[in-house]
């Protein structure tokens, strides 16, 4: 088996050519066909103690589902994944596999790891294409009601897990569409919205109710929810308060948070001329930051007609937090990387529109708290990048809308909800929290992992009531 794995190289997903995809919003990789999936699945060593599973925040039974793919039992493969992961088509696409399952794969030690993400996506897409939605038949109802605040990845995971255990779950979403960051943040070319809709339909078929346009903290407090008969509440509202650079000129027109730019493009579909949403299209675009959100913003600006799109990042390539695949795709599409560069001032014209950004060159000094080498300014190295659009993607703080209305909910100094790292339990009885509103901005799968732990604890709590 090991010899075989050495002979077969890691299979690549076919994808749209960079020169074509840079002007459309269709998904970039096409996914594996059956032959390629079988070939890739055959590379798995089926380790007795699979380190890939340990690398997965929701412990997907990876060798098992890959074996089922190899046996061409595709329905069983997806059922195996779904035991642990309610959003496989999403995770197959957006998880940072290189740091998780694939990063732990034994094959990666000497060669290239099994393409676990691509195989997960393969199994999930087959199910979507077949349109199967009946996963919750014969679930015995507990008669208990759970409210989930926020319909992003952690909220959906809690909803799915608890619905499967027979709870009556209602998800409250502030936007007019469910899905949270999967809908407003991650672009269509990386995660088609039909997939998110499918997963949500699937939850609905399990009896999960979705209430849209409902800002908990404003229209209802958590206490109201208890008074209305909910037995437990899960808070998964996301980080959702964009950070700015706090530099001069940041409020000129043409300077956006990535959240705004992506929300306009994704949720409000500004790229579709049938929609009324206006968006700024720049010839010369500067995106500040180097995480996944920065890559999404840069590639969106490119697709909307940007001619020169640059990523400006104060550290070096090694420290860039984005997924390897996103960096690779961005580079292929012609995004320019201006590394060890930090904006110091936004320049505007007499009409209040941005015309450039003054930057300074940086060098790496001693390691900082994050363990990464601290970027230090090089005196006298200031220079100007001409641009007509600037997108700031340097992370988010804690959104105050819900937490302000809940005086008893203990918060951290930075305004995040204090929750037990193993159970998600908060300082308020019957209230759990997880995802970015607890950890600060992280990944889809980390939020799902937190949702999983909380759902388990909510189940334990409600069973003992």
């Amino acid at each position: 088996m090991a010899d075989k794995a050495k002979k077969i190289p890691r299979q690549k997903m076919p994808e749209q050519k960079p020169e074509i995809r840079r002007s459309n919003f269709k998904e970039v990789p096409f996914g594996f066909d059956k032959e390629t999936a079988l070939l890739e699945a055959s590379r798995c060593l089926k380790c007795k103690k699979p380190s890939c599973v340990e690398g997965c925040p929701v412990s997907v039974p990876i060798p098992q589902f890959i074996s089922l793919i190899l046996e061409e039992k595709f329905d069983d493969a997806i059922a195996e994944i779904r035991k642990k992961n309610f959003l496989p088509a999403v995770c197959g696409r957006v998880c940072p596999q290189e740091n998780q399952c694939e990063g732990s794969c034994i094959l990666g030690k000497k060669g290239t790891p099994v393409a676990i993400g691509a195989l997960e996506r393969f199994a999930a897409d087959l199910e979507i294409n077949a349109g199967k939605k009946d996963v919750c038949l014969n679930v015995k109802k507990t008669g208990r009601k759970v409210a989930v605040v926020g319909s992003g990845p952690s909220g959906l995971t809690v909803a799915g897990d608890l619905a499967l255990k027979g709870y009556d779950v209602t998800v409250f979403e502030a936007f007019h569409k469910a899905g949270g960051v999967l809908v407003y943040g991650i672009p269509e070319f990386r995660l088609p919205k039909t997939i998110v809709e499918y997963e949500i339909e699937k939850l609905k078929s399990c009896g999960v109710k979705f209430v849209l346009n409902y800002v908990i903290g404003k229209i209802k407090t958590i206490n109201d929810l208890f008074e209305e008969g909910f037995d437990a509440v899960y808070i998964g509202v996301g980080a959702g308060l964009p950070s700015f650079l706090n530099i001069e000129g940041e409020n000129f027109n043409g300077v956006f948070s990535a959240n705004e730019y992506l929300t306009r493009a994704n949720l409000m579909k500004a790229y579709d001329s049938d929609y009324d949403t206006p968006i700024a299209v720049g010839d010369n675009v500067v995106v500040v930051g180097a995480g996944n959100v920065a890559m999404d913003a840069a590639r969106t600006a490119l697709r909307l007609g940007g001619k020169n799109v640059s990523i400006v990042y104060r550290r070096s390539r090694e420290e860039m937090p984005a997924r390897a695949e996103e960096l690779h795709h961005a580079e292929e599409e012609g995004i320019d990387f201006k590394l060890l560069t930090n904006p110091v001032k936004v320049l505007g014209d007499e009409n209040g529109r941005i015309k450039g950004v003054e930057c300074i060159k940086m060098e790496l000094g001693e390691p900082d708290d994050s363990g990464r080498r601290r970027p230090v300014e090089i005196k006298g190295s200031e220079f100007v990048i001409d641009c007509d659009l600037m997108i700031i993607a340097v992370g988010s703080g804690a959104n105050p809308v819900l937490t302000r209305s809940e005086k008893d909910l203990a918060l951290t100094k930075r305004g995040y909800v204090e929750a037990d790292s193993e159970t998600g339990k908060t300082s308020v009885k019957g209230v759990w929290a997880g995802g970015d509103i607890v950890t600060g901005q992280a990944t889809v799968i980390m939020a799902m992992g937190a949702g999983r732990k909380a759902a388990t604890d909510i189940d334990r709590y409600l069973s003992e009531l």
Partner: protein, 278 residues
């Protein structure tokens, strides 16, 4: 879906809609707003809740038809629906009992001012109201304001109703006449700026309600950022009301013009489309 129970053109190009939204009505307080979206393709437009009726489960919005989105809103009749109404958003006005509050409203800002003025009256404050409009045909909620205020003063640019001149002229006279504890000024940006400059001279605390461009209304996008005392604030979660003496009105005016060309074109295209259909 949110049903429109009433549609009335209360002044030239100014529309009032009463909307069925029981949960919002139950929680709405003066100073708060909703985001309204007409259909799947539409924009999310922030509009202040002018009135709310808990028992009927309704809220009332008032808007001037200025662009494509409000034109679409205005085309909806009684019995039609808004696809999305989200709220109540923003911080409610801090309402207390004061000896004298002067409420100054201009244009459709009067619709925002009304529930706040009413709130102060209900708390037992003495409220004088100064309303301004370009001409009498554009003046709204005059009778409603008359019913609640101690004194109502009207200013029009052309003198077609009340005093000819700006609200600041009337306000100056009032501040000269008798001390005020608070001025609440809501209207066009330049009106709020002029009022705030005037009240600063008289050292009277002044509350303004800002109307920047918004998307989510929950602090998530930062589109509505405004500079207050040199610090960036988000109007949707920190406001929409701020100390008028701290607001950078010029920046607000500049940011409101971000999509002016696009808005104009969008409206022109829409007008062509609907006239072509006739």
């Amino acid at each position: 879906m949110y049903e429109i129970l009433k549609r009335e053109e209360i002044a030239e190009n100014i529309i009032l809609n009463e909307i069925k939204a029981a949960d919002i009505a139950a929680k709405a307080k003066p100073g708060q707003f909703v985001l309204v979206k007409a259909n799947e393709q539409g924009e999310r437009i922030p509009l202040t809740i002018s009135m709310s009726d808990k028992s009927k489960g309704t809220i009332t919005i008032i808007y001037m038809v200025v662009g494509k989105s409000t034109k679409i809103f205005s085309s909806l009749d009684k019995g039609d629906f808004f696809e999305d109404v989200i709220g109540p958003l923003g911080m409610p006005t801090h309402i207390e009992k004061l000896d004298r509050v002067i409420c100054v409203g201009g244009g459709t800002g009067i619709a925002v001012l009304y529930p706040i003025a009413k709130g102060f009256v209900e708390k037992g404050s003495n409220v004088d109201v100064i309303l301004g409009a370009r001409n009498k045909n554009l003046l709204i909620l005059k009778d409603e304001m008359d019913n609640i205020s101690k004194n109502l003063m009207i200013c029009t640019d052309d003198g077609s109703d009340g005093r000819k001149g700006f609200v600041t002229d009337a306000l100056k006279d009032e501040l000269e006449k008798e001390k005020a504890d608070l001025v609440v000024a809501i209207g066009p940006v330049m009106m709020m700026k002029a009022v705030s400059e005037l009240t600063k001279k008289y050292n009277v605390k002044t509350l303004v309600s800002l109307n920047p461009i918004m998307i989510d209304g929950t602090g998530m996008c930062g589109c509505c950022r405004v500079s207050i005392g040199g610090k960036t604030k988000f109007a949707c979660v920190d406001g929409p009301e701020f100390d008028g003496h701290e607001v950078d009105f010029n920046e607000l005016q500049m940011r409101l013009r971000a999509y002016l060309d696009r808005e104009k074109k969008s409206l022109e295209d829409y007008n062509c489309k609907i006239s072509g259909n006739r």
